[in-house]
């Protein structure tokens, strides 16, 4: 399971303040804590508040890389913000460009821009692409799969290895009226998306959005995560500091025969798999 730590995101108040005050310590502590908890990548999202998003991205990348060498997931739907981060990054251990829709009304070629940037960033650079296009986020299974198919075929046409491609089926808050069909639709879409190519693209989700505004957030998150793992999910952007969630991942991976059982399977999960 490729876990991407979600905590360095300007949507969180302490991160937003740290960006505004250039408080490196807050960011570096989050980077180290998430790495120790088993994050394979650290998501870096400047949020919407920063006036200079490109500058904020560069400051975050430099600040984190002073503290640890965990590869980063540069998270923005603006190619310019990703490009700014890539200018100062050390991508030796890999980098994820997170995330691009198939296309936008304002930018038909946005996906190709992410592919070009990933190719330029080296052989270990990957992309997260959203099942979303200029018409927005689809609600049904078929449109999700159709967009994913377009993403995969576009990547293949460009010779971009599908193993460097993550498809994010976009999780919506379950508390939103009429959204309760979405988790089931996402699982049904995953069942089809993983057969789009061989080897298949990775499947990922931004998990915490699911429980936005709900009670029992941690419970909702971890139950859905284990359900999705059983449908082929092999990556997720999550709160790796949520210990019950991490235990659920370790258990689901063991039950899916991805990890060899041992009596200490919970204890070793993060340390045995994180690189």
């Amino acid at each position: 399971m490729i876990l991407i730590g979600e905590r360095i995101n300007g949507m969180f108040k302490n991160v937003k303040e740290a960006i505004a005050n250039k408080d490196a310590k807050v960011i570096q502590e989050l980077a180290i804590k998430q790495t120790e908890a088993g994050a394979a990548y650290l998501d870096v999202n400047v949020g919407t508040a920063a006036a200079d998003q490109e500058g904020a991205m560069q400051w975050l990348v430099e600040t984190i890389q002073e503290a640890c060498s965990t590869p980063l997931s540069l998270d923005s739907q603006k190619p310019a913000v990703i490009a700014a981060g890539l200018k100062v990054i050390n991508a030796k251990n890999g980098v994820v460009l997170n995330s691009t829709p198939l296309n936008k009304k304002s930018d038909e070629e946005v996906f190709d821009k992410y592919v070009e940037m990933a190719e330029a960033a080296g052989p270990k650079a990957s992309i997260i692409a959203l099942t979303m296009d200029k018409n927005g986020v689809p609600q049904d299974v078929d449109t999700r799969v159709a967009i994913a198919a377009d993403i995969v075929s576009r990547a293949m046409e460009r010779g971009f290895d599908t193993q460097r491609l993550f498809i994010d089926t976009i999780v919506l808050p379950v508390k939103v009226p009429d959204a309760q069909a979405q988790p089931g639709n996402i699982l049904a879409a995953m069942d089809q998306i993983r057969y789009l190519s061989d080897p298949p693209p990775h499947l990922t989700i931004g998990l915490s959005n699911l429980s936005q505004g709900a009670t029992e957030r941690s419970l909702i998150n971890r139950i859905f995560l284990t359900m999705a793992i059983s449908h082929g999910l092999d990556s997720a952007i999550v709160d790796v500091l949520d210990q019950p969630l991490m235990n659920a991942v370790a258990t689901a991976e063991m039950l899916m025969n991805k990890q060899i059982y041992s009596d200490s399977f919970l204890k070793v999960y993060a340390s045995a798999t994180a690189d």
Binding site: P199, I260, Y261, S262, S264, V268, S271, A272, T273, D275
Partner: protein, 323 residues
Amino acid sequence: MPIPEVADGFTGSVTRLALGTGPDEGGTRTSTVVVGGSQNVVYGGAPADAGERPVIAMDVLDVRPADWPDVLLGPFDRVADDPADWAKMCVEDCGADLVCLKFDGVHPDKADKDAEHAVRVTEAVLNAVGVPLVLWGSGNDDKDNQVMPKVSGAAKGERCLIGTVTEDNYKSLTAIALADDHCLITEAPLDINIAKQVNILVSDMGFPLERIVTFQSTGGLGYGIEYAYSIQERQRLAALGGDKMMAMPAICDVGYESWRCKEAKLDEAPGWGPTENRGPMWEAATAVCLLQAGVDIIRMRHPKAVATVKAFIDELWNGSSEA
């Protein structure tokens, strides 16, 4: 189990581990052995991914073997009372990469020898040969806990491979192997879940994963070899998948297990051919099978079987490096 695509790259690899230390590292070995390092399935992928060649550790017992069949004891009859001479013969005449000193004689049900005897034998063998040693206890937990720490101390600084430790008995030998800078063999009873657990327990004591070799237990040809084979296979795939608790090189005990098989040693067996050939063939066939499962160190006994397996390794390896 899904069949992996050998053309694929893998994220993990088998640990590389060096046995023996020369004078520059504080030891007295004249040769050292490096095992492990594979980055692909056995004999799959690019030759450069194959890691180190497998090696043969020939068994030397601390006392004259009481229950070896004539055809096996024959070649060693002249040296069987002197482990130092026996070890010399293995290295000089048979080309053993390692000598595995097996302390059968300290077992309470056998000769019940004491720790002083074991230390004496260890020192004598260290003096007699320059290859690295494998130091293997009697299999009796209580006795091994008395004897093996002393054996470890006698070989301190030589970077031996010492064992075995199990889920129920690992603390004292792990601690002493750590202190004396040896590598350690973790043993499991053909049970991959326990194998992983022993590695975790040992590593919890601060023992470096990079100094562990796993012993999954061995089944002889016709006596459960398929269990050993599939566990070795699964261990390799876990290592390649990045499971650090399963990424160690593996050792197996072919000599003991194949000579327990009645097909290897039964005299009165019309149509089976003479035991002089049959026994060594049984041992060699068991070894070759396990080599193909990805075993790194093979314990063997009969000189003829050792010669056959060495030739097999040469052929596979040279073929592989020219491919």
